[in-house]
């Protein structure tokens, strides 16, 4: 009996303590891996007494598939701009009207009214960057500003090239490499795209996301990659350089939105507003190493990011940038088929 009362007391104590922890609120963020500054999250937790949980995903498709099923338990998600119209049309976002929020005044001019979310009804800028190549220049000395690194791999790099398996990025690169325009439905171009990809694949060593670690450790000598990732690799090994392919490269942005079935809506809105504060956005950039679309955040970024060739596109390459956008469904279907064929 004594034992039982002790157990009950213990249970009660446990319940009370968890109850206390919950009373202050929670926030569940579903985001790309290695993309959220722990320091910034700590700041948000301390400021608003909210317990933040972050869960990783590795591709836009994974995130979309999981959340579409409902009951995911997440409050916020950070999809890329070319997927945002899908999320909106599928009714997955909650209309939080960030443009009415206090900190919206800090959003940089070019991101105030983007095509993918007119009037910023749903999303807040998280990060923006480009898709290019990374090459360990100790291994390969030639021109790195070309998709030929991936699709016509030079001998020095054969069997050492990785491709980040984000379908739309790879398809866009292959289309641009074959002289097509983004989202082209031209079958002659797409046939060339398929042949290019199938022919190139034997020269690749892997199709993985974990490039920061594996480029740094020498498991890969080149890869298709995002610029912020390239920046972090250069910090690990100065010989790793980021290339802006002359055939054209895609500029993208990822944006923070609140899910319609979110349980912690008020905390999520607080976090959207929090992310538009230059100090917080700058702190986050210091971690993921991308630009963030919040004016005045530069002064809160680490000094090494100022004028970094991965962040500020050099003037000679700027003309080759192509904005990321949603392709029409029939084109997307063709892309998916080519991609599946490549994956086999």
């Amino acid at each position: 009996m004594k034992c039982m009362t002790a157990t009950m007391a213990l249970t009660a104590a446990l319940l009370a303590s968890t109850g206390l922890a919950r009373a202050e609120g929670e926030l569940n963020i579903y985001n790309w891996g290695n993309y959220t500054s722990p320091e910034m999250i700590k700041k948000f937790e301390d400021e608003y007494k909210v317990k933040v949980t972050i869960t990783d995903y590795d591709s836009n498709d994974t995130a979309l598939a999981k959340v579409r099923q409902g009951g995911s338990g997440f409050d916020m998600v950070v999809p890329s701009q070319n997927y945002i119209p899908i999320w909106i049309s599928e009714g997955l976002f909650l209309e939080t009207n960030p443009s009415q929020m206090e900190n919206f005044k800090n959003v940089a001019k070019e991101w105030v009214d983007p095509e993918f979310d007119r009037g910023r009804k749903y999303t807040v800028p998280w990060a923006m960057g480009t898709v290019g190549t990374v090459v360990n220049t100790d291994v390969y000395k030639g021109d790195i500003n070309t998709w030929a690194i991936i699709f016509d791999t030079p001998d020095e790099l054969k069997g050492k090239v990785n491709v980040v398996p984000e379908m739309n990025d790879v398809m866009d690169a292959a289309v641009l490499y074959n002289g097509g325009t983004k989202c082209t439905g031209d079958l002659t171009i797409l046939k060339k795209v398929r042949d290019t990809l199938i022919k190139a694949k034997p020269d690749w060593v892997a199709m993985e996301y974990g490039t920061v670690e594996k480029m740094g450790s020498g498991d890969f000598s080149a890869s298709s990659d995002w610029n912020g990732s390239a920046f972090r690799q250069r910090l690990k090994n100065p010989a790793i350089k980021y290339g802006y392919p002359k055939e054209g490269f895609v500029g993208w942005s990822d944006n923070l939105a609140v899910l319609k079935d979110a349980k912690n809506v008020e905390n999520a809105k607080l976090f959207q507003n929090f992310m538009m504060d230059p100090e917080n956005a700058g702190m986050n950039s210091g971690f993921h190493r991308y630009a963030n679309g919040i004016a005045g955040s530069d002064e809160f970024m680490p000094a090494d990011m100022k004028g970094a060739p991965e962040i500020d596109i050099p003037a000679e390459f700027a003309g080759n940038a192509v904005p990321s956008m949603t392709c029409p469904p029939e084109v997307q279907e063709l892309y998916t088929k080519i991609w599946t064929e490549l994956q086999k």
């Binding site: 099923q69 069997g159 797409l190 060593v205 498991d219 599946t340 086999k344």
Partner: protein, 306 residues
């Protein structure tokens, strides 16, 4: 005649009814939790893929056709899905090799443990189970650290001057094989030990007394007697190896797909849930056929040996 039988029958049937009632919760759980999801998978395999994953509720055989045939993207001609066939063959081949290698390593290990004094056997068995304490993912990453280009083996060989440049071990079929042998070895050792423990070593001695060579004793006495353990171990290794997902995706680099990865792809970037469902069911059918083959083969062999 019927009168005395009556109450006994009634008692028996009551007893049987009670047993059924008592096992009903377990049966229900099995039915709902095991068959339910499988039925959904079966249903999905006959539907049309939705635009961004998921399924559209229209009947279609495309998923099943896609398992064996593929339609050319550009001219719509059908041909054998040789990509699927090669992934099936790679999976089956790697799983078979995993089974053989775990058997080769596991057999002497189990024999060693079974021949220890009874008190120390517990300790050896305990040592075999230690890897289970750590998550599969972590054990796989540990192997990655050993075989990667700047990993333990390559660094050691380069420092010793045996090789000039790192050998490419990671992201190969060999890497997947090493990983799977490591992961599945305990599953082979434990059933092997269970049947070796029951082995009557007087028979082994009798064999030697009759001037049999060690190899002959192994082949004619030990192996036939521990055959149930060999069969059970092989089944326990082969089946999960066939559907392995974590090991090939980490050590294979996402390029050398196995069946598990091919199925996962259909539910993610492939956006073709019906094909993924059809592939899953095909995998199950293959496992079932392999199991029947194993069991029947083992059964007839056992019968012959009396």
């Amino acid at each position: 005649m019927t009168q005395p039988a009556g109450p006994i029958d009634a008692e028996q049937s009551r007893d049987i009814r009670k047993r059924w009632l008592l096992s009903l919760p377990a049966l229900l759980i099995i039915l709902v939790a095991a068959s339910g999801p499988l039925l959904i998978v079966l249903l999905y395999s006959f539907l049309t893929p939705g635009p961004y994953g998921d399924v559209a509720w229209r009947f279609s055989l495309e998923g099943w056709i896609g398992v064996v045939l593929e339609k050319d993207i550009f001219d719509d001609t059908l041909s054998l899905a040789d990509a699927h066939v090669s992934i099936f063959l790679r999976s089956a081949g790697l799983s078979l090799m995993t089974t053989v290698l775990t058997l080769l390593v596991g057999f002497p290990t189990a024999y060693f443990i079974a021949t220890r004094p009874e008190r120390s056997r517990e300790l050896w068995l305990f040592l075999i189970t230690i890897p289970f304490w750590t998550n599969l993912l972590i054990r796989t990453f540990a192997i990655l650290e050993i075989i990667r280009n700047e990993g333990l083996i390559n660094t050691l060989l380069i420092d010793l001057g045996l090789i000039g440049r790192p050998m490419q071990m990671l992201f190969t079929d060999g890497a997947i094989l090493v990983g799977m042998v490591y992961v599945y070895l305990p599953l082979m050792v434990l059933p092997l030990y269970a049947s070796m423990e029951k082995l009557d070593f007087r028979l082994v001695e009798a064999g030697y007394d009759l001037y049999a060579t060690p190899f002959r004793v192994l082949r004619r006495i030990i192996i036939p007697l521990v055959k149930p353990g060999i069969v059970a171990g092989s089944i326990l290794v082969f089946i999960p190896a066939l559907g392995a997902y974590v090991t090939p995706s980490i050590l294979g680099g996402g390029k050398n797909l196995m069946l598990g990865n091919l199925i996962e792809l259909q539910f993610g970037q492939g956006r073709n849930w019906p094909l993924g469902s059809a592939l899953s069911i095909t995998l199950m059918l293959i496992v079932m056929v392999a199991l029947l083959f194993y069991v029947r083969n083992a059964g007839s062999q056992g019968a012959r040996h009396g």
